[in-house]
């Protein structure tokens, strides 16, 4: 059984975690910058980090995951929606020093620009050990027109199709308890 944490930001905040047991963190941010530092300090621990962000002004998300010991596992899913013509920047670092063998360190980063915002993702994997499994991906753009076409071809108008895609993008795990993120769900409706 993993420890589950819910975080909702409406102001800029810094976070530091020392992970010594399996942990899932659901981090929701409404128009704010966050700096997150995570140390995985116990062998065998798994970390799942879901960052979901609605953005209206210039903001940054900076996350560093340090695999301080070997045989640790991190999965980051960072999803942002950049609503206006502003700047949204993600710095995402996975760090594995030489002494930490057999780690898994993955990150998936996506930012959807609703208008013509300037978004940037810096996905960094700083790995100093050969016995590691690590992947990263980054996407910046609009929602796929092919997906919108498919939804519309069943009679759903563009606005509702976009809303379906927005909700699935920003609440990107079936395990999220919607009662705990009421404020964020209401904010999705405002986009």
């Amino acid at each position: 059984m993993s420890k589950v944490l819910y975080v909702i930001d409406t102001k800029n905040k810094d976070y530091k975690y020392k992970i010594d047991e399996d942990t899932i963190i659901y981090h929701f941010s409404i128009n704010s910058s966050s700096k997150v530092t995570i140390d995985l300090i116990t062998e065998g621990v798994n970390l799942y980090y879901y960052y979901n962000n609605i953005n209206y002004d210039d903001n940054e998300f900076n996350i560093k995951v340090n695999h301080k010991v070997g045989n640790t596992h991190s999965e980051l899913y960072n999803h942002g929606v950049n609503v206006k013509n502003n700047k949204l920047t993600y710095y995402v670092d996975g760090i594995i020093p030489k002494k930490s063998a057999k780690c898994i360190c993955n990150q998936d980063n996506q930012i959807i620009n609703i208008r013509d915002g300037k978004s940037t993702i810096w996905p960094n994997l700083l790995i100093d050990n050969y016995d590691v499994d690590s992947n990263h991906s980054a996407y910046i753009g609009k929602f796929s027109e092919e997906k919108i076409f498919y939804l519309m071809s069943r009679g759903i108008n563009r606005e509702d199709a976009t809303r379906l895609l927005l909700e699935s993008f920003l609440i990107n795990s079936d395990s999220i308890d919607l009662n705990k993120i009421d404020e964020f769900v209401k904010e999705i409706d405002k986009i």
Partner: protein, 250 residues
Amino acid sequence: MLEIKNIYCSITDSDLDILNGLSLKIKEGETHVIMGPNGTGKSSLAKAIMGHYKYQITKGDILIDKKSILDLSVDERAKQGLFLCMQDPTVIEGVSNSEFLRTALMSKTGEKVNLYSFITEVEKSMKEVKLDTNMLHRSLNMGFSGGEKKKNEVLQLKVLKPKYIILDEIDSGLDVDSLRIVCDNIRDYMKENKDASLLIITHYPRILEYLKPDYVHILKDGKIRKSGDISLALEIEKEGYTGIKDGQDE
């Protein structure tokens, strides 16, 4: 009636013509088949009718019950009764099958859909197409096999009850049993909805053993070159397209 009137179609922002003066009339209750070599414009025709963003009609018209649909958006065309069963249905992670279908049904009827009656009806239809009912709660087409994707298209058809159905290579990638299940369900649908009509796009006459066509058309170079009955499909199976001469078989 769905009427395609001398349409010319190209890919958006390109001069490449795909359809060159294609005409077709599909009356209520009729089943038409379009066959043709690869790259001849069959799937493009299906997508152009549905209003896909990559295709633009440069000349001619498409009419439903004598009214042009060219200015209608994709969802408005769907509300006019058009339904495209896609060759490769799109995967949408995070949007559940049930959420998608319920939203589509509400869009069609303009009314709130009672969750209990919706689930009951959809689960009944899922059993008929032999889809596991758990798939209702999974992301749309995500992790579905080729056969499951096609059955899911037929499930949507059964729930949304369209009038003008286009099957774009629904038979591709289906095993014998799945093809029979898919076709049985479409045939039952056509029996229950006498005013519905069908446009089947296919490479293989096998599907026509299950869904008997009224007309078979051969599409080549973006134009219908020959029309006939099911014997034309069997002739193609035997002789290929090279032996087919332009003209109309009665």
